[in-house]
Amino acid sequence: MELENLQREDVLMSTRLAAGGRLLNRGKSVRFEFNGKHLRGFDGDTLASALLANDQMLMGRSFKYHRPRGLVASGAEEPNGLVNLGKGGRFEPNARVTTTELFDGLTATSQNHWPSLDFDVGVVNNYAARFLPAGFYYKTFIQPRAAWKHVFEPFIRQSAGLGKAPKDRDVDTYEHFYAFVDVLIVGGGIAGLQAAKTAGASGAKVLLIEQTGHWGGRAPVDGAVIDGKSADDWINNTLDLLDKMENVQVRSRLMGAGIYDHGYALAHERLTDHAPSDDMPRHRLWRIRAKQIITATGAIERPLSFAGNDIPGVMLASAVRDYVVNYGVSAGDRTVVVTNNDDAYRTAIALKGAGLDVPLILDARASGGGALAEEAAALGIRIANGKAIASVKGGKRVTGVQVCAQAGEGAVLEEIACDAIAMSGGWSPVVHLWSHCGGKLIWDDAHAHFRPDADRAPTGADGEPFVSVTGGADGAMSFSGALANADETARHVSKRIGRKAKKATPPNADDVEMAPLAPVWKMPQGAGIKLRSKMWLDYQNDVKVSDVQLAAQEGFESVEHTKRYTTLGMATDQGKLSNINGLAVLADSLNEEIPQVGTTTFRPPYTPISMGSIAGEATGERFQPLRRTPLHDWHAGNGAYWEPVGHWRRPYCFQRSGESVEDAVQREVKATRDSLGLLDASTLGKIIVKGPDAGKFLDMLYTNMMSTLKPGRCRYGLMCSENGFLMDDGVVARIDEDTWLCHTTTGGADHIHAHMEEWLQTEWWDWQVFTANVTEQYAQIAVVGPNARNLLEKLGGMDVSADALPFMAWADGQIGGFDVRAYRISFSGELSYEIAVPASQGRAFWDALLEAGAEWQVTPYGTEALHIMRAEKGFIMIGDETDGTVIPQDLGLDWALSKKKNDYLGKRAQQRSHMADPDRWKLVGLETLDGSVLPDGAYATADGTNANGQRNTQGRVTSTYHSPTLGRGIAMGLVLNGPDRIGEVIDFPKTDGSIVKAKIVNPVFYDPEGEKQNV
């Protein structure tokens, strides 16, 4: 009868109290929207407190069984209160309501249900729960084979997941910030504040960070009195004092996310989550280098494991207290408190003080509690010692509890109507940050929790400890204990960095006498399997006591096995509430002590941080540096079809209106061969090598001889890695007696320079050689084609005749009034000059060439035309003919391998059996019989298959083009004994299986005598 009444009243529960709410500004009302409902809260509310105040206890559905889920906690540990927050470019899934500050216009929808939060079809999983124990998927869905991917998996994926996937591009911005401090203190509770005060007094640079928007942690809620002042007063005084210290910085809404090696800490700042704005970054990721780190991260209350402990309305005692004291919200009108320690009595007292009904306190300890218990009793609250909850009544909301003896097996003694349950299983220090970088833990029997083991702290670059812990995070469970501990820790830490904090007695707080806690991992002690299957450990992932016991029973004895088998602690809260309880159940099932079973590894971040903040400023145009040549803007304005080459962008070709990329390329080749082309070659590497030993050095670096090169002359050179492979090529010019200028490929510029420096600094450091990478100092333009000389002579200034500047020579001079260095080199087979001018002159010189070249229809060409022309000439291209597995011998470049030198980088490697093997594939030209273009990357088949049933091959295409000059497809490739098989026809299958027949030919397709380039 009584229960029915409660059912009816259900809708009236959870409202805002007339008074109270220390964090609220009741003067400022805030509008927000939840599941389409328009609601109101106050400035200072979290989304959680505002929803609660609007009687919205039900907030989501669990992961596996889709059971109704309500608030459990009031902070970062909340496993249930997750919502889809915001819209469009500001949409965020899985936003935690307890850490989401309310702002005007906030919109949120609940997650993981269909069609609605109140009626969710997925709940069928709940009715089938008995058939879906831990690891059930491993045992079924095995037959038939195709069913997993096409039937079962889609179903499981659909019912899993939580929030919706964002659809729109993020409209917010993010940034990073580097900070360097002596002491980083994480956590703005009274311990963190005191530690900052003491460390600050030592003169150290201190940064104190707090994840929430307010200071003091639990102390004000728990009614601490410090040095005779209220906690709030002491906190404000301390903040003022810290504010006056030049060497101390305090920052709120800045969460310590992770601690990494060598004192590196990651902190996540939320700048606009509480007040969306277009002109500020949403998040700022701090990368902090600290000599010492103090974690003052407090402790988290543990749930108790009793049947039905996941029904909405069952909350942590501390959370119930927080909502009343901080937000003036009651979780319920009739709240049963259940505990194994004294702290929960504070909740009963606070509720009573707020005029709410506490029908009963169930204290699992036969001996009951201490001073706080007496205070509660004095308030007329009924207390039942040695009693426990047999099971919770209710569906989407608690309606009552069945009481039993903790010692028994759950025989129901009485039934109490209530609409909320405040539970406390004790407190667990927040050891995450301590553990990230290797800090170890010890088990504390008295408080039944793991806390940091100071003797096994994370160590830094000097091998000494660099992380300390204080306050609740260190297991200090009283105010005065925490303050004293903080002062001592800060002094110790100051000493570590060679400073001394002035003497000062730590503040003193009035502590109440606490009776010892009694570990309770199951309620009641002797609960049978039926009850154990209703005791939730992990609310979000639906892991129950019975699941952990099943894992142990099946041999998943390692805590890591159990975690992975049951998914305990793998939810978005990463087990902040469930880990210790689960561990205790596992230990119990294995008949081992909890410390023997050990914990899972704590990994960063402490709570999830936005991907956007990790990327920081590096999005859109700032994603990666884009390197521009001095002519970049001209290219961009003249139809450049870009090709990324490293971080450069080079024009692949210049498209004219209505012209296809292919047509443009063909046009550029013909125009250059027929008359005159221009290429922006500025990206080619240019490295000065100078010194008495420069020649000797270059002889080691290049496979051919560079020391004998005459000043004024150029030579094409090859560079191999010490492992023998061809790594780069380019033209080397000798500038004077002890100076050379080495050209490298575009991709090679930086790493070849680094390669040179490496050998000079680490192997031949006694050689007198300096190098300088001057790649970007010059704009370099290739003037190519039969009219190249005409153009330069028209501009005038220096003698570029065959006699004055023969093939493979260079000279300084002036052309058209520009100071230039002209190289008479050709990568196209045409008469060609490469002209270098200072980068700042590049654009003007380019324009001058275009203007003067108009009479010869001067045609700028891109990288593809360049490739085709070099291929027509049989010149190899690094990255095409080479791929890191090719040696010069494969490419018929033996002529470039000096026989005179007894050593150069790669020479010894090339003597190894496989590299000396005569059967290596060698470079040849390839001509399709039908004139078509061979497919890129095609392989030539040989007869039969290998031992693994793969088709045998005898060669492959390395580059292939349609040659406008020859009007047919041409290709280069590596073929088994190729050079000895000129004229032979081999098969190149396409991926569709059809065969292209190609004849092996000489790789030089165009002007084999080299008459054109040598005029």
């Binding site: 670059a461 091998g463 020479k907 010894r908």
Partner: protein, 114 residues
């Protein structure tokens, strides 16, 4: 995220300013050395669980290569020193032996070239 002191320019550089160059104090084998010695030089690496000598380049700094003695299991850095050496200097070895009793450069190199 390591920090290493560049012995050339004196900057305490973080990993993102540095380029890791692998094991230090290799002896270059070349023409004339046998296949095994050459293979050792190119591929065989100490890869120890513990004290390691390695090469780093202060890439986005002064550009100099230097050597570091570092523990691969604790990431403790015993010191950094010139790249123009064929063996770690005495003070580095002493620093290591102080922290890792029983350790000595000889046992390292002995294993390295056995």
């Amino acid at each position: 995220m390591l920090i290493l002191h560049c012995p050339y320019c004196g900057v305490d550089a973080e990993e993102t300013e540095l380029h890791a160059g692998g094991q230090a104090h290799l002896t270059r084998e070349t023409v004339g050395s046998d296949d095994e010695a050459f293979e050792d030089y190119l591929f065989m690496r100490e890869n120890p669980k513990g004290v390691h000598f390695e090469r780093w380049r202060h890439a986005s700094g002064c550009g100099k290569w230097f050597h570091a003695a570092r523990c691969t299991t604790t990431l403790e850095v015993f010191g950094t020193y010139s790249a123009q050496t064929t063996a770690p200097p005495r003070e580095i070895c002493d620093a290591i032996s102080g922290k890792r009793p029983g350790w000595s450069w000889k046992t390292f190199s002995a294993r390295m070239f056995s």
